[in-house]
């Protein structure tokens, strides 16, 4: 039983924190968000320089062979600074697919571009009616010669406009919600028949709705088994959920810190409002919620090493439940304790609230994961 970071992990944390302290304050973030892609290529290159984009990849593939704890460290730091760059879709998700299922050729073709920062990815998974069910896929991939033809529509694809390559889930056989017959395909964003409609998101990023019309890709586009890709998708999405839990903990830490600072300095009736017990207790509850979320984010992180896939999934579901409840409380109460100023676009706290709220509905909300944990037969 050990919750300490190793020496290397501490160094990693210091290096990420240092980078963000230097180049990611609230004003700088505004500038990055205003760029066409919704994030900063300069920052992305810095992440590459510090080796952060190569963390989870095997040394043989040019990476550092780091594990889930390292991803947690990075995502927590990103949560604290509300980082906009597409680390989740590129390194965590596309990287996850490539690591777990990529052929040697696929790895060689794609991983170096991720590590050196020259390429970013997006995950085209959500459909109009799929909501949070990963097995609900209407987009089709039909065999044509040696390759595939993809048709369908995907929504709210994070980094969908800027990505060089899209990771697309598509059905190769069966009905809309069958667990069998789902494949994962690598599709160049500029392939013929791909139409991308980009837009800003509530939490200051950019996403896109993407239409695939007779998009032809080669046989090397399929990642893993095109007839039975769901277990792979579930695994990678669980890793993405785990990363989001860590990001949310970072954002909650920062929300609590900003809020406590604020109520220590804001005066009414001649005293700091933080001297009022009703506000103190609210802040104490925010602390309790944050610590419980931190515990479960740790569980989800360490669950990636569990042998039992069912226990792993149940742990991630449970973590998303706790994080969902915690982020709602911490996010909402951060605004409440700020009062009117918390309602303004110019104060940073509202931006934390918005990011936290969107995390809640990414890859399954609290109710969804509560059902999942319950159907798994409990987690105690």
């Amino acid at each position: 039983m050990d919750f300490d970071l190793s020496e290397e992990q501490r160094l990693l944390k210091d290096s990420v924190d240092g980078l963000l302290n230097d180049s990611y304050d609230f004003e700088q973030r505004k500038k990055y968000g205003a760029e066409k892609t919704g994030w900063s290529k300069t920052v992305w290159d810095k992440l590459a320089e510090q080796g952060l984009l190569g963390l989870p990849f095997a040394e043989a593939d040019g990476g550092f062979g780091a594990g889930a704890v390292e991803t947690m460290i990075v995502m927590q730091a990103f949560g604290r600074a509300l980082v906009l760059e597409p680390y989740l879709p590129t390194v965590v998700i596309a990287g996850g697919f490539l690591r777990h299922a990529g052929s040697a050729a696929q790895k060689a073709a794609h991983i170096p571009g991720i590590i050196d920062g020259s390429k970013t990815f997006a995950f085209a998974q959500l459909e109009k009616n799929s909501r949070y069910d990963l097995n609900d896929v209407s987009t089709t991939a039909k065999k044509k010669g040696d390759g595939w033809v993809i048709d369908g529509e995907k929504f709210v694809v994070l980094n969908g406009e800027a990505a060089d390559t899209l990771v697309v889930t598509a059905r190769t056989k069966g009905g809309q919600t069958d667990r069998d017959g789902i494949g994962v395909f690598l599709v160049p964003r500029n392939a013929k028949g791909v139409t991308v409609k980009g837009y800003p998101t509530q939490d200051g990023m950019r996403a896109a709705d993407i239409t695939f019309t007779g998009v032809e890709v080669g046989t090397d586009a399929a990642l893993g088994d095109p007839a039975n890709g769901l277990p792979l998708i579930e695994r990678v999405v669980d890793e993405a959920r785990t990363a989001l839990c860590a990001e949310a903990v970072g954002a909650m830490d920062e929300s609590l810190k900003i809020t406590v600072e604020y109520i220590k300095t804001r005066k009414q009736f001649g005293v700091p409002i933080g001297s009022f017990q009703s506000l103190q207790h609210r802040a104490a509850d925010m602390f309790v919620f944050t610590e419980q979320a931190r515990s479960m984010a740790l569980l989800a992180t360490m669950a990636s090493d569990f042998d039992d896939a069912k226990e792993r999934a149940a742990s991630v579901a449970a973590a998303k439940v706790q994080v969902g409840k915690s982020l709602k409380f911490v996010g909402q109460q951060s605004i409440q304790l700020h009062g009117g100023i918390g309602m303004t676009m110019e104060a940073s706290i509202g931006h934390y609230f918005k990011r936290l709220s969107i995390i809640e509905s990414t890859f399954g909300d609290t109710d969804y994961h509560l059902r999942r944990a319950s159907e798994a037969g409990g987690i105690i």
Binding site: M1, D2, L279, Q280, A283, F287, A318, V321, L370, S374
Partner: protein
């Protein structure tokens, strides 16, 4: 970073588990499973069993009969004890006054009192709260006046748990009425057989008699019963109250309760199927399981840190344990009540005196629900815990 126990810790867990499985008297285990109260005789019997094994006071220093277990082993021991279930050692001696004595008392006092606590020769109770001094403990008024080699004690203590069984009471008394609130308080050990002590039961809403009022009317206490220095009692009290950080989460106990809840929900029908198959109930169950899992992890973080930083340095996360631990315990009693439904209502007059051996354990569900409202009140109410977090952690 690693969640798992070392092979040695795992072996220790097996050893402790096997010991509890084989040595908790069946009658006592049944009472605990059914949420009935154990008797004084039960506690003495069980403490002697632990004592014989050398496990009655494991967290004490070795020279006073303790072990040299690590924080993790301590944690495993408590978890397994609660999950068996076995009676937790009587806290007033083992966890409260014992550590105060071996930390602050003189050699003669250590020699006399500590062995008698360890094998439960002396049953201790706690004389802190008073009618006018609950959360604001330092406002206490019971006074002790020095007269020659004696103190004369007058006043009243309340919420004194199991005082009806007690041989001794450790009291916070005011020895300097002129001093500022916290500064005139001393820590005094008083023989419950002393002339002038009256114990009066307080019957709680569950019908049980756990707590009492204790009256002191010109009670003569030998001056040698003072612990440490006169007027330094508040420091010892703070030490005592800060000692129980991780145990308070009651994770092992809540796991055991959860198991009972599942059992009952599987054998109770509603709408033609067991309640446990009702999706709404299952989700409530899953929700409390998530809370409990999070608490378990939080507790593990605190325990792992304690092992690293040495004892007595509270992890900021430890303040979470009391709040969430008590809330979860209460939620479980609430769900139990929900499952019992209309059968929670009949009042069993024999509920607490052990004369009704065949009583179905469902009879204790409602009383336990009522009784467990206490857990967010005692040991520093959850509101006081929030004060502690806001001051000590958030700096407000």
């Amino acid at each position: 970073m690693d969640l798992s126990l070392t092979p040695e810790e795992q072996a220790f867990r097996e050893e402790v588990r096997a010991f509890f499985r084989d040595n908790v008297p069946a009658g006592i285990k049944k009472k605990l499973s059914e949420n009935r109260h154990t008797t004084k005789e039960d506690m003495v019997e069980w403490t002697r069993i632990l004592h014989k094994k050398g496990w009655a006071v494991p967290h004490w220093p070795k020279e006073y009969g303790g072990t040299d277990w690590t924080a993790v082993q301590q944690y495993i021991f408590n978890e397994e004890l609660q999950a068996t279930p076995a009676p937790p050692p009587l806290p007033f001696g083992v966890n409260m006054v014992g550590p105060v004595i071996y930390t602050f008392a003189n050699e003669a006092q250590k020699k006399h009192y500590l062995p008698r606590i360890a094998n439960l020769t002396d049953w201790w109770c706690q004389g802190f709260s008073e009618p006018g001094s609950g959360s604001d403990l330092a406002s206490l008024k019971t006074k002790a006046e020095r007269k020659g080699d004696k103190y004369i004690v007058n006043g009243q203590k309340t919420w004194t748990t199991l005082a009806q069984h007690a041989d001794w009471i450790f009291c916070l008394v005011r020895t300097d009425p002129a001093a500022k609130k916290q500064q005139g308080i001393s820590f005094l050990l008083i023989d419950m057989k002393s002339k002038g002590i009256t114990v009066r039961p307080i019957v709680t809403i569950d019908g049980g008699r756990e707590v009492n009022e204790v009256f002191f009317d010109d009670v003569e206490v030998p001056a040698e019963n003072l612990v440490g220095e006169e007027n330094k009692g508040w420091d010892y009290a703070k030490f005592l109250l800060g000692n129980e950080r991780t145990n308070i989460a009651r994770v092992g106990m809540s796991k055991e309760r959860l198991r009972r809840l599942r059992e009952l929900a599987s054998s109770t029908q509603a709408g033609g199927r067991p309640i446990i198959e009702d999706p709404k109930f299952r989700e409530k169950l899953a929700a409390v399981e998530v809370e409990l899992k999070a608490l378990e992890l939080t507790q593990m973080r605190v325990v792992a840190n304690e092992g690293k930083n040495g004892k007595g340095k509270p992890d900021p996360a430890s303040s979470v344990l009391k709040i969430k631990g008590s809330e979860i315990q209460q939620t479980l009693t609430e769900l139990m009540l929900e499952v019992a439904g209309p059968f929670a209502s009949p009042y069993d007059i024999h509920g607490d005196d052990n004369t009704n051996e065949t009583m179905d354990w469902i009879a204790q569900i409602a009383p336990t629900y009522f009784n467990y409202r206490k857990v967010s009140i005692y040991g520093g109410s959850n509101e006081i815990q929030r004060n502690i977090i806001s001051k000590a952690v958030l700096g407000l």
